[in-house]
Amino acid sequence: MSEFGFHLAFWSLAAMTIGGASMIMVSRNLIHAVVWLVLSMLGVAGLYLTLSADFIAVVQVLIYVGAISVLMLFAIMLTPRAERDNSSSLKTAGPAGVVVIMVMIATFWVAIDTDWGSVREAALTDQARLIGESLIKHYILPFEIGAVLLTAALVGAIALAREDDEDAAVHAASLQAELDGREFDPVDVVDPPLPAVLTAELPAEPESEART
């Protein structure tokens, strides 16, 4: 790719990323903020593409745009309406600004000070394979630890969030059956056998049978 095309792509993507990020701070509405965040993340994915890191770029879109932002929207939707908007109070703005400026200065200093090994043209190699191989061969232990951690988190999240009405009903019915000293079949809760009135013993036919 020529210099001009590269610069065009880089500067427009950078503007998209920074602009999106600024709008996140400016917008009062949380949903708007998430939409701007998506724009910013798409810009970052584009920047990865200009660095010939197409695997990372696609994964950035897949995970951050497709999953994380949707999860954020979901979380916002599930919280009550009153807490959905950004607070208009500026009480904490001062300290936060100081912290941000300090972090920025540190980052710039590191960025300028580091001796980056830069290449003009990155080779378009099979990056997915390389990443996979290094994960499996060199970083197998951290990879496995991460996997176990994620599994534990998943199980924990399910255990915390589990609130299944049907299960609760089955549990309640089993306790009730134990209290009453009855046999218990979980299927009966989900699907009661037959209306009790239909299965009850037939009463003796009354004398005054007037049916025609």
Partner: protein
């Protein structure tokens, strides 16, 4: 396709319609002669995009007609038959009507986010076409992470749907959006796993690579992984919001779901993208599981893109067929189907694919013998898994059959009901159950 290039002098020339890529290559080379190379890239990209747009636009119009006509035949109707010959101009009339209609927006809608979705929804809808290989060299972008690109792009569409549903400030739309998001999060898992099976087995993430693998091994993936194909088909139809999984725009429940408040051409855009997505997903099912542009040597005589379109049409017909036949599942049923049946099934086949691939490579088995055996094993495994899940994941209240009895001479209230129910002879009519 090296043998194809060597066949005769006309092959590879710009007028060889079997491989439209030749034409594009000619143009690129011509520009490279006099212009900067970035211009060539841009022109190539534009040509691809324009080609796709030029193909999808008219195709969509025809597809609307096809879908309405086919559904009408299922329903013993004629379908559109007034505007133009055989009603072929009906979609044009509809489009004109939609364009001329007034665009309404609810007063309480979130204006910016309300206006964006009909436009934004086009972006993934068009981008996704870019990686569909119409021939050996005929795809706009033959990415080596094509499969991931497909998943990433299709995943962003749900964001747009959510924006549409949320900004309308309508409860039907919101319910539809919530359902769409919940379903998309769930159904992406079996989709990813299904594609992972293919990626593991063929050893490439390039979509064209997967087709070439099928060509090289002389086998299509639906034979090797039938259950995966089935799961992918169902998960794709769920992502497409088509019955039996169209809960996010379930007409009888939430009117039109997330696009309830969109009128005129805004609705038209949603509708068009939905149809376009249906077509492109049919194309991807054909590519992944039916061999794409390749068909046991037929592709040497018939242009490869015609083969792909024919397969796409077949899958598309299947999608219309399921839509015309099946009722809709409930939200919770769809979720439990996904997590209790589809995810374990695809996970099983990811493991199976891994084991078989390892055997093929490390043992160096002859693929012409090993692959048929594996196909038979996998078909057996699929049937077993289906039967197992039908038993395990089936809702408990469907285990007992529904019965209709005949009252006979017993007419009356509860007492008669009891004696009808207590009658020991076989019920007249019994459906369902294990």
């Amino acid at each position: 396709m090296t043998e194809l290039a060597g066949l005769s002098g006309i092959l590879g020339a710009w007028y060889d319609f079997r491989d439209l890529n030749n034409l594009q290559r000619l143009i690129t080379e011509w520009i490279a002669d006099w212009g900067p190379d970035w211009l060539a890239s841009i022109v190539t990209g534009l040509l691809g995009a324009l080609g796709i747009l030029g193909v999808i636009g008219p195709t969509l119009l025809v597809l609307i007609w096809v879908e309405r006509k086919v559904i009408a035949r299922f329903q013993q109707r004629y379908g559109p038959n007034r505007v133009g010959p055989k009603g072929l101009l009906q979609p044009v009339a509809d489009a004109v009507k939609l364009i001329l209609k007034e665009q309404l927006a609810p007063r309480a809608a979130d204006k910016l986010i309300f206006f964006l979705p009909p436009v934004l929804i086009f972006i993934p809808g068009i981008l996704i076409w870019g990686v569909l290989p119409f021939g050996p060299r005929m795809s706009v972008a033959d990415l080596n992470v094509g499969v991931l690109f497909l998943l990433a792009v299709s995943g962003t569409a749900v964001l747009v749907i959510f924006m549409a549903g949320w900004s309308s400030n309508n409860k039907y739309a919101l319910l539809g959006a919530m359902r769409a998001v919940a379903m998309s999060i769930s159904y992406e898992v079996p989709m990813v796993l299904a594609l992972l099976t293919l990626v593991v087995f063929s050893g490439t993430m390039s979509i064209n690579g997967i087709v070439e693998w099928q060509q090289q091994e002389d086998v299509i993936f639906i034979l090797l992984f039938p259950l995966t194909a089935l799961v992918f088909f169902f998960a794709a139809s769920a992502e497409l919001n088509r019955t039996p999984a169209d809960i996010s725009e379930a007409e009888s429940e939430i009117v039109a779901g997330y696009h309830t408040e969109y009128s005129g051409m805004r609705f038209g855009l949603f509708y068009a993208v939905e149809l376009g997505n249906t077509l492109v997903v049919s194309g991807f099912i054909a590519t992944f599981f039916l061999g794409g542009w390749w068909m046991w040597g037929l592709d040497e005589w018939v242009p490869s893109w015609i083969i792909l379109l024919a397969k796409t049409g077949a899958v598309y017909f299947l999608l219309i067929w399921t839509r015309g036949t099946l009722p809709r599942l409930r939200v919770d049923q769809l979720m439990s189907l996904c997590w209790k049946a589809l995810v374990p099934a695809t996970l099983l086949f990811v493991v199976v694919a891994f084991v078989q691939r390892t055997l093929l490579i490390s043992e160096g088995w002859d693929t012409t013998i090993a692959l048929p055996i594996m196909a038979v094993i996998n078909i057996g495994l699929s049937l077993g898994a289906i039967m197992l899940f039908a038993r395990v994941a089936r809702p408990a209240d469907l285990r007992r059959p529904a019965r209709i009895r005949m009252a006979g001479a017993e007419i009356g209230g509860l007492r008669a009901a009891r004696s009808v129910a207590a009658r020991s002879e076989e019920p007249q009519f019994q459906v369902g159950g294990d």
